[in-house]
């Protein structure tokens, strides 16, 4: 019996070690009671000091949400979510008076960031030297925002959306919900009702954003849903690259995340949106882990605009995510580059939608799915060519790699074309890790795990190359970490 106990302890220790960001910061939080009803929404709205129209929008979304059914079409299985057993609002105490400098910041928080590897202190010291602004989101409330001055000089607005609601309500009102309508789908509607924070980015006409914008999200409190709302507007001729990366502490109970991201690109504008998602995937038995139900959509509103999505999905127990592009403007371009790695009991159902409406619109989809352990990974995508989208062009490639005989890889593409001059091409392959290549690496003295990491990194190369420098290195490491224990 004692031996068994020891084994359990050992295994547990291993799991904890494996997930190196698995710790919980103990900060008393300002929480709303569990459950969802109009009062909670009013509470959130009051906390956020929403304008009146925002509260109305939230309540309307809530009413629509009550009538909606949870979608069941995705190839994922999980225990039903009790939406009344979730805290819809949690904010660190320091919300009331924001710190003027890092000295005023809760040291506990700073330590958390240090463990996460965000050298905020250094960044503050080296301001202006290192060119990355971090709008660090800690449990739904932005705590520290840096490099604002630099951005302000260029005329770029980069702030928490709750702040934007105060300072630029007219912009938020004009664009919020214009890409993902309030009642778009079950999770987006829920988000519209209860979203607490997220980023707001506005790039004025002709401005090339002087630095890569990035936000680190982190879910900290147990039982707290994280409902982010991000809105990025790129005016005529502007350019912005936005990075989003996430880690979360280890928890046994499943945590719900339902974010909404809206991108708007006007004439000649370009938005590049990169994500590295590394939330807690659950332990090797499939216990715990984040439920990640995200609605991301970009609207190429003007001619010659471009939206590019790049994602590296290694975390979460369940992923349900389809970053899409609506190619409205003539000659607009949509891109989707994705790596989805699932190990142990993870499930990912992800892909994209490319809706071609304008003439000469182009889209490219490169998706790499890797399944190991008992994981299930699905690519689900739609390419739709409208009759008016003359000479539209799409190229899709989705490859799946299987490691082990207990996992699954699935491909569900929908291709609909109503334009004779459009050319739509789709290719997909599924195969296992090549034994010859593995043998070659092993023969040259690499360990099995190193070999697998090397081969998988090679398999993903097309997508990794699309990531900005800062992320590319991190992502390659992540690919290796995610597959630890999948062979041998």
């Amino acid at each position: 019996m004692v031996a068994v106990q020891d084994t359990i302890k050992d295994v547990h220790a291993l799991d904890v070690d494996k997930y190196k960001y698995g710790f919980v910061t103990d900060i008393e939080s300002d929480k709303a009671p569990k459950g969802l009803n109009p009062d909670i929404i009013r509470f959130i709205s009051a906390k956020k000091n929403d304008p009146e129209w925002m509260l109305e929008l939230r309540l309307k979304a809530y009413e629509r949400w009550l009538e909606m059914e949870e979608p069941t079409w995705a190839k994922v299985n999980y225990d039903p979510i009790d939406f009344q057993d979730i805290h819809y609002y949690a904010a660190p105490k320091s919300d009331a008076d924001r710190p003027d400098s890092l000295d005023d910041v809760d040291p506990e928080l700073l330590r958390t960031y240090e463990k996460l590897g965000i050298p905020l202190v250094e960044q503050a010291l080296l301001a202006g030297v290192k060119n990355v602004a971090v709008d660090a989101v800690f449990d739904s409330v932005s705590v520290v925002t840096t490099f604002k001055e630099n951005l302000a000089e260029a005329g770029v607005i980069f702030c928490p959306i709750s702040e934007a609601l105060q300072t630029h309500p007219e912009l938020v009102k004009k664009y919020l919900g214009s890409v993902v309508p309030m009642a778009d789908n079950f999770y987006a509607t829920l988000n519209s009702a209860v979203f607490t924070d997220g980023s707001f980015v506005y790039i004025p006409e002709g401005v090339r954003c002087p630095m890569e914008l990035s936000t680190y999200f982190r879910i900290n409190e147990a039982n707290t849903g994280q409902f982010e709302r991000t809105l990025i507007i790129a005016e005529k001729g502007s350019y912005v690259s936005y990075l989003e990366g996430c880690t979360a502490p280890m928890r046994d109970e499943n945590q719900l995340h339902a974010a909404v991201v809206e991108l708007i690109a006007m004439e000649d504008a370009e938005i590049k949106y990169s994500t590295v998602q590394n939330w807690y995937p659950g332990d090797s038995e499939g216990k715990g882990g984040i439920y990640n139900f995200v609605t991301k959509r970009g609207d190429c509103r003007g001619a010659n605009s471009k939206i590019s999505w790049t994602q590296v999905e290694t975390g979460s127990a369940v992923t349900w995510k389809y970053p899409s592009c609506i190619l409205r403007g003539d000659n607009s371009v949509g891109e989707f580059y994705s790596i989805a790695i699932t190990n142990n009991h993870q499930q990912a159902d992800t892909g994209t939608k490319m809706i071609h409406l304008g003439k000469n619109t182009r889209s490219r989809i490169i998706s790499k799915g890797i399944s190991a352990g008992q994981a299930q990974s699905t690519y689900r995508g739609l390419v739709n060519i409208h009759p008016k989208a003359a000479s539209a062009r799409n190229y899709t490639q989705c490859d799946s790699l299987l490691i082990g005989d207990k996992c699954g890889a699935h491909t569900v593409p929908y291709i609909e074309s109503r334009s004779p001059s459009a050319v739509v091409e789709h290719e997909a392959t599924t195969s296992k890790l090549s034994e010859e290549q593995l043998f070659y690496c092993r023969q040259r003295g690499l360990s099995e795990e190193e070999s697998v990491a090397l081969l998988v990194n090679g398999f993903c190369r097309d997508v990794l190359q699309q990531l900005p420098m800062e992320f590319a290195v991190e992502a390659q490491k992540l690919v290796s970490i995610s597959l630890e224990g999948s062979v041998g």
Partner: protein, 463 residues
């Protein structure tokens, strides 16, 4: 016959959809017809009556499919089903027999008129080891193997259309070829529609025992210009190492509805090659499920379609790799002009333990007009790691450079387009059958192109 009856259990998801579909007025006339057939079937065995009753109950539970049923996403049958189709008795021998693409090919003709087998117009092979049974002729004494086929069809292809067919079928053709039998000619099953605005529900079942090799030709033609509704169920069962080539042509009148539920089960090392050409019908849908149950089984499915006006053609295919080292190929190519719509939904499922699977899928469509539409959904569902699976899909117009090349050499537009389309389609046909069997299909394609040259030129040409 090594048949395991399976129980029919619609999944949970279908149950919820059923509620959404709610029994409408559309089903009512069909359910009434079911009751009439049941009451009239005096000569039928009690077993068959019970079997029909089960079909009715299951059809009631399903209702006609609609677009929210995933397998019917691109094909909406319900509006078409509102038309009143007469349930014909098919007792009169037809006035004239329509020409089929295989008339020149030496074969045993099995003639089915309005869903009823006509022995007078058929040439049944009289050979030991070949059994051909029809539902009507066998009356009270249904052989056990025919019953097995009926049960197996019901359990393997269960769906609303098959169940409706079980309830309403007037006749069925069952073919059994014993081990060691060699047929000297292909079997040619002709389905002809003679009565006006008729509905008929048919069964075609073929069993090949171990090592048997056979060719099955299938023609669909109509003798009138009225809309009819043909609901067909085909069951194919291949024993160890058996080989079946199955070539079908759908060339009925452009008002026709034709829905087929096809099911094939392949034992070890069996091979099933199917090739179809669709140029007829207002709405033609083939829903095929190929089950590779024995190790090393192979299937090669291909099809061409040529559609004009508002014709709608749907190929929905599921290939189930249940055993190791099986091979499957799918190639579907078609040309669409005016307001035609072509749908391809192909799914390859590789079960756990089905290592060594090699599956390939290809769907290509040519759009020749602004109003035509092509939809493709090539799906892979894989639960084994030692596999080689791939699919490709393309949708586009005729190659402009190739067209320019031909035009620059003085070939008129219509002819140039026809040439390119013919090459595009013949490619599939040549890959699927030998010369003797591919020649009739190629003729059929070439005749179609001649007849429709005007429609091909006038639409959608862009400088």
């Amino acid at each position: 016959m090594p048949l395991k009856p399976m129980s029919v259990q619609p999944t949970q998801k279908q149950t919820t959809l059923r509620v959404a579909a709610s029994q409408g007025d559309i089903e009512k006339p069909y359910l009434d017809a079911c009751e009439r057939v049941l009451a009239e079937g005096v000569r039928e065995s009690d077993w068959l009556k019970a079997h029909r009753r089960e079909g009715i109950e299951r059809f009631k539970a399903y209702g006609f499919p609609h677009r929210r049923v995933e397998a019917w996403k691109f094909t909406d049958l319900r509006p078409k089903m509102k038309e009143q189709f007469n349930l014909v008795r098919g007792q009169e021998t037809p006035q004239h027999v329509v020409v089929t693409p295989f008339d020149e090919t030496p074969s045993y003709r099995l003639f089915i008129n309005d869903g009823v087998f006509e022995s007078a117009l058929s040439s049944v092979p009289k050979q030991n080891g070949v059994e051909i049974v029809t539902l009507r002729q066998s009356g009270q004494d249904l052989p056990a193997w025919v019953k097995d086929q009926l049960v197996s069809t019901a359990s393997l292809s269960s769906g609303p259309m098959l169940e409706l067919g079980t309830a309403l079928m007037r006749d069925g053709l069952f073919i059994y070829i014993a081990e060691g039998t060699v047929l000297d000619r292909p079997l040619h099953v002709i389905f002809q529609t003679t009565s006006e605005t008729a509905q008929y529900h048919t069964r075609l079942s073929i069993v090949l025992e171990k090592g048997v090799e056979a060719t099955l030709l299938e023609s669909h033609v109509s003798a009138n210009g009225q809309a009819s509704f043909h609901n067909q169920a085909t069951q194919i069962q291949l024993g160890e190492g058996a080989i079946l080539r199955h070539i079908s042509v759908e060339a009925t009148h452009k008002e026709n509805l034709h829905v087929t539920s096809l099911n094939a089960r392949l034992a070890q090392s069996a091979s099933y090659t199917a090739m179809s050409a669709v140029s007829g019908g207002a709405l033609v849908r083939t829903e095929a499920k190929i089950m590779l149950e024995g190790a090393g089984a192979r299937t090669n499915l291909s099809g061409v379609y040529m559609l004009v006006e508002t014709q709608h053609c749907d190929h929905t295919i599921v290939i189930d790799h249940a055993a190791p080292n099986c091979t499957s190929r799918q190639v579907y190519q078609g040309v669409l002009t005016e307001s035609a719509r072509g749908v391809f939904q192909g799914k390859v499922v590789v079960a756990k333990g089905a290592g060594g699977t090699d599956a390939h899928q290809l769907s290509r469509a040519l759009l020749l007009s602004d109003k035509a539409e092509a939809d493709a959904k090539p799906e892979l569902e894989i639960y084994a790691d030692d596999v080689k699976c791939s699919h490709g899909a393309t949708i586009g117009e005729l190659d402009r450079e190739a067209l320019f090349y031909l035009r620059a050499r003085g070939i008129p537009l219509g002819q140039a387009k026809s040439l390119l389309i013919e090459a595009f389609l013949d490619d599939v046909v040549e890959g699927a059958a030998d010369e003797v069997l591919s020649a009739p299909i190629k003729n059929h394609i070439s005749n179609w192109l001649k007849e429709h040259e005007a429609q091909i030129i006038q639409e959608g040409h862009r400088p």
